[in-house]
Symmetry: C2
Subunit: 243 residues, 2 copies
C-alpha cells in the first residue's frame, strides 16, 4: 500500500545537531571575554542565522559565516583575528565530523528496504550531505537520494512529480515538524515524527495541518516497521471495508 | 544519434566568473592598506581557496569563507572587523547577482531543445544554482537538471548510470577543460569547449585525454547547432559506411 518510505537524514538517521551545539558552545566560550552573556551571544547568532538563510541557505557553511558575522556584531568589530580564524576552523571541523548513526537505525533501514523502496530526502550543503551519506554506510539501502535546498510543500511536490509518487502512498520519517512533517501532511501524505533530543529553534513549529490519522509520533525509529505494518494493514482492511 | 546534449551552466550559459573577479578586485582593495601587493594578496586567496576545497567544496559560500581566512592570513590577524564584515557582505551580494545570459544562449538552447533532450550539469552551492537556473528563464528547456558537488569521471559515470546514458551518444558543452571536457572525453563521450573570457586557474588543464575526433572547440555557443548537425550526419554516414 505504501509506495515509498522516505527518511530525513540529519538527526533522524545520524547525529547532526549535537555538532552544531558543540560549535555553539565553543562560540560562546570564544566570545565570553568580550562581555556578553551566553544567552545574548546565542540570541545574536540565532538572529544572524535566520537573517542569512536567504543568502546562504541551510548547512554548516552558512552557519560558519553566520558565526563570524555574529562575532563581529557582538564585539562591534573588535573580535580578534585569531578568534575569527578559530570560528572558521570550527566550520572545517564540522565538515569532517564522524557520522554516528542513531540507535537502531541500521537494522531498521535494512529491514524496511527488503519490502519497500526507500528514499532519502535531506537538505543542507551538497558536498557535506554526500559525504555523510557515503560515510553512513546506508547509501545502498536507498533507491532514491534527494538533496534539496529546502523542504517546503513546493519542494516535496516537485519530488512527487519527478518520481510519479501518489502522496497518499508516501510516508516520511523525520525529526523536524517544520521540514519533515507539516509539508508532507499538507500534501496528503503520511508523516512520522521521531524527535531528536535537540531541535534547532528554526525547525520548531506550533501548528500542524489537519492530519486525518496520517500523523504519528514515535520515540524510536526501531518502532517504525511495526507502525508501517499497522498502517498498511488498516489501509488494506479499510479499502476492503473490514471484511 | 546523440541521445543527450548536456550543458555546463556557470560561464557557459550565464556569466559567473566575472562576479568572482569583481569580488576579488574588491578583496584586493580592502587589503591594500595592509601592505601586501595585489599579486601577493591574490596568491594567498588562491592558495586558501584550493586548501579549503575539501572542506567547503565549490561555490560562493566557500569562496567567502576563504576570503575571510586569506584576509586574516595576509594581515596576521590584524584585519579590521569592518573589513571582514565587508567580505561577508561581498558574499551576500554574490548570492543575489543578476543572471546574465551569454550572447546567443537563449536562442541556441531553445533551438536544440526542439530536437534533443537537454541536460544541465552544474556544480556549486545547491541553493545558489537553483536560484540561478530559475532566474535564467532556461529551466523549462532542460529535461534533466543535475546539481553535483564536483565534476569528475566518477560523477559523470554516476549520471550515466542513473539516466541509462550511453557515453558514445552523450555530448557535453562547457567552458572548463578540467570539469566539462576531460572527464567526458575519458569516458568516451563528445565534448565541446566554449572558452569564457575568464578562467579560474583551478579549472585550467594542460593535458586532455585522447579524443578520437570527439573533442571540439567553438568560439561561440551559437555555432553549436551546426556542429551537432555535422556530428550526427557523420556519425550516421559512418554507421552506414558512406553510401
Amino acid at each position: 500500500m505504501l509506495e515509498i518510505i522516505a527518511f530525513d537524514a540529519d538527526d533522524t538517521l545520524w547525529h547532526s545537531e549535537t555538532y552544531y551545539a558543540e560549535a555553539q558552545a565553543r562560540f560562546v566560550e570564544i566570545l565570553s571575554p568580550y562581555g556578553e552573556t551566553s544567552e545574548q551571544a546565542l540570541a545574536v547568532l540565532h538572529r544572524v542565522e535566520i537573517e542569512n538563510l536567504p543568502y546562504f541557505g541551510y548547512g554548516f557553511k552558512g552557519f560558519t559565516l553566520s558565526m563570524v558575522q555574529a562575532a563581529l556584531s557582538i564585539t562591534a568589530g573588535a573580535v580578534r583575528g585569531e578568534h575569527i580564524q578559530e570560528l572558521i576552523d570550527l566550520g572545517k571541523t564540522m565538515s569532517g565530523h564522524a557520522v554516528l548513526l542513531l540507535d537502531g537505525v541500521h537494522e531498521t533501514v535494512a529491514q524496511l528496504a527488503r519490502h519497500h523502496p526507500l528514499m532519502l530526502i535531506t537538505k543542507g550543503d551538497l558536498l557535506d550531505q554526500e559525504r555523510k551519506i557515503s560515510d553512513s554506510g546506508l547509501g545502498d539501502y536507498f533507491q532514491y537520494i534527494e538533496i534539496v535546498s529546502d523542504k517546503t510543500p513546493a519542494s516535496y511536490q516537485r519530488l512527487f512529480q519527478r518520481h510519479d509518487i501518489n502522496p497518499a502512498r508516501f510516508l516520511m520519517i523525520g525529526n523536524s515538524l517544520r521540514s519533515d512533517i507539516a509539508p508532507v501532511l499538507s500534501l496528503g501524505g503520511y508523516a512520522v515524527h521521531v524527535p531528536y533530543h535537540l531541535t534547532w529553534a528554526h525547525e520548531a513549529l506550533t501548528d500542524l495541518p489537519a492530519a486525518d490519522g496520517r500523523f504519528f509520533q514515535l520515540e524510536s525509529i526501531t518502532d517504525l516497521p511495526r507502525l508501517i505494518g499497522k498502517i498498511e494493514k488498516e489501509g488494506a482492511s479499510g479499502n476492503e471495508e473490514r471484511k
